[in-house]
């Protein structure tokens, strides 16, 4: 393993250790409630950027995958009383299948047509779940949390740590793709699909792969949300805000590097949490919109792009 890889895994382990330590020493519940949401958005943004960033296929269907994860858990809990790990694993499998189906149906479309198709997907699935009485229909459903597992004292603390594990998993996968031939192939087809095909890149297969991985991670990120809220209803689980926030976080962070969506998600969702507490929950949507506009106009490559530009000009200055 190269030095970069070793540093990455040391960082990941330190992050997990810190998350675990927090659950053991902090008594107040609020940091975990807020932290859980931030971590959830990191997973969503990282997963989104695998298809939306590396391959350049802008997916508005994040909420479809997220909601599907939520309802996979709801169904599994209601039908079998399945434990959290099973909920997440099953949600990931469903997300992968959904990504595959969505990919087969829509990845031949390019640009805006693909994006519109993903919005349609969200609406179709939401409508289906709204009319599914078993999981509560439009009225939603209450969910009872089971006993918490040791060493956690509180269920939200456990969910917080589980979501931290998902963050490491998502980032590790995204980083692997970014640094491997898969990432190079995706970048090539993002630049020019025909030229990529004629250079030997199996474009459809790579896009499908990206869609499957991205879908699986998004669904997995949604799975613990049922237990987190102890409640699920279609209009919040499939809320388009998830799609828009995720997209904004990835783009503001920058999609050219795996770090981008992480930075964007931390920055934006932390700001949102702060604003929700200090001002109101409506203001954070406004802030999101304003920041997105500012970045699209001023720094279309996101924060990562800004950093690169600053570094680039500094290097030039030295040389």
């Amino acid at each position: 393993m190269k030095l970069n890889g070793i540093l990455f895994w040391i960082g990941a382990l330190l992050f997990l250790a810190a998350a675990l330590l927090m659950t053991q020493v902090i008594g107040n519940q609020y940091p975990f409630f807020a932290g859980y949401v931030i971590l959830q958005f990191i997973v969503l943004a990282v997963a989104w950027s695998i298809l939306g960033g590396y391959a350049g296929y802008v997916n508005f269907g994040t909420s479809a995958f997220f909601g599907m994860g939520v309802y996979a858990s709801v169904f599994l809990v209601k039908a079998f009383g399945a434990p959290l790990a099973v909920q997440i694993a099953t949600a990931a499998a469903i997300g992968a299948l959904m990504g595959f189906a969505l990919g087969l149906l829509t990845l031949r479309m390019q640009g805006i047509f693909f994006s519109i198709a993903t919005i349609a997907l969200t609406i179709i699935i939401e409508t289906a779940v709204t009319n599914w009485r078993y999981v509560g229909g439009a009225a939603g459903i209450q969910i009872q949390r089971p006993e918490v597992t040791e060493p956690f004292e509180n269920y939200v603390q456990m969910l917080f740590f589980v979501q931290a594990l998902l963050v490491v998993l998502a980032v590790a996968i995204s980083r692997y793709i970014h640094n491997s031939w898969i990432g190079r192939g995706l970048q090539a087809l993002k630049d020019d699909e025909l030229a990529a095909e004629c250079t030997g890149v199996p474009t459809l297969r790579l896009k499908l792969l990206a869609c499957v991985i991205s879908g699986a991670l998004m669904c997995a990120a949604g799975a613990p949300a049922a237990m987190y809220l102890q409640y699920a209803d279609p209009s919040s689980a499939f809320n388009l805000t998830y799609s828009v926030s995720t997209l904004a976080m990835s783009l503001i962070g920058g999609t050219a590097h795996w770090m981008g969506p992480v930075v964007g998600a931390v920055l934006l969702s932390a700001t949102q949490q702060l604003l929700t507490v200090t001002i109101s929950s409506e203001v954070n949507v406004l802030i999101l919109g304003v920041m997105l506009v500012l970045f699209v106009v001023g720094a279309p490559e996101g924060i990562i792009g800004l950093i690169r530009r600053v570094r680039g000009s500094r290097n030039k200055g030295e040389a």
């Binding site: 031939w181 190079r184 192939g185 970048q187 090539a188 993002k190 630049d191 020019d192 025909l194 030229a195 990529a196 095909e197 004629c198 250079t199 030997g200 890149v201 199996p202 474009t203 459809l204 050219a256």
Partner: protein
Amino acid sequence: MMHPETKAPLLRISALTKRFGGFTALDNVSVDIRPGERFGLIGPNGSGKTTLINCISGAFRTEAGTVMFRDEDITGLRPHIRTRRGIARSFQIPRPFKSMTVAENLMVALDFAGGAGEHVSAAQRRDTMMSILTRMGLASKADVSAMKLSQVELRKMELARAMATHPKLLISDEAMAGLSSSEVDEVLDLLMSLADQDITIIMIEHIMQAVMRFSDRVMCLDAGRIIAIGTPSEVMANQRVQEAYLGT
């Protein structure tokens, strides 16, 4: 029965027809390209040269006819599979991977086509890449972004990227268009040197001097049909070619 002296064709196009709606871009085109041949393709604008290339490389689906490459029917295959089997091309208007450096452009080809799947170390790939770039005169540009290349460098990079897929057949689509006469000679010499390494080359070109110097055989298309095929001087002397293309 095969004659002992004639080698089996590398590429055999039989009765190929391509339509765009009601417009027939290629009408029943048949031609054999022999291994090692330097094949010139000429014709007026809109005569179907690039369409023919798109049908050979797989970018377009055809309405009728077959394309055989090394005795295998490749008519229905997707472009990337054809590339892996040994058909590489450059584009009339260069299509580099803009977000990458020149080296990375070539790495895509090496990752996915040129020896993909074989156990080649990263260092070996880097060597292969650098030797291709050196041959193309682009070694000093390896770490330059593809966006910053000049027109002639872009053309060379497209050829280099095509070479990195280890082609048996290289199709050059107007690689010299818009270049100065010294640059034309430069690119032509490159193509000649590639042809010496057992690579069969189909060259589309409007610069007649280059076509004459380069080609073993020339084919002239007009309105989707072959109007002449033969040695360069034969084709130039052809009455129909002169009327349709040379404008005399």
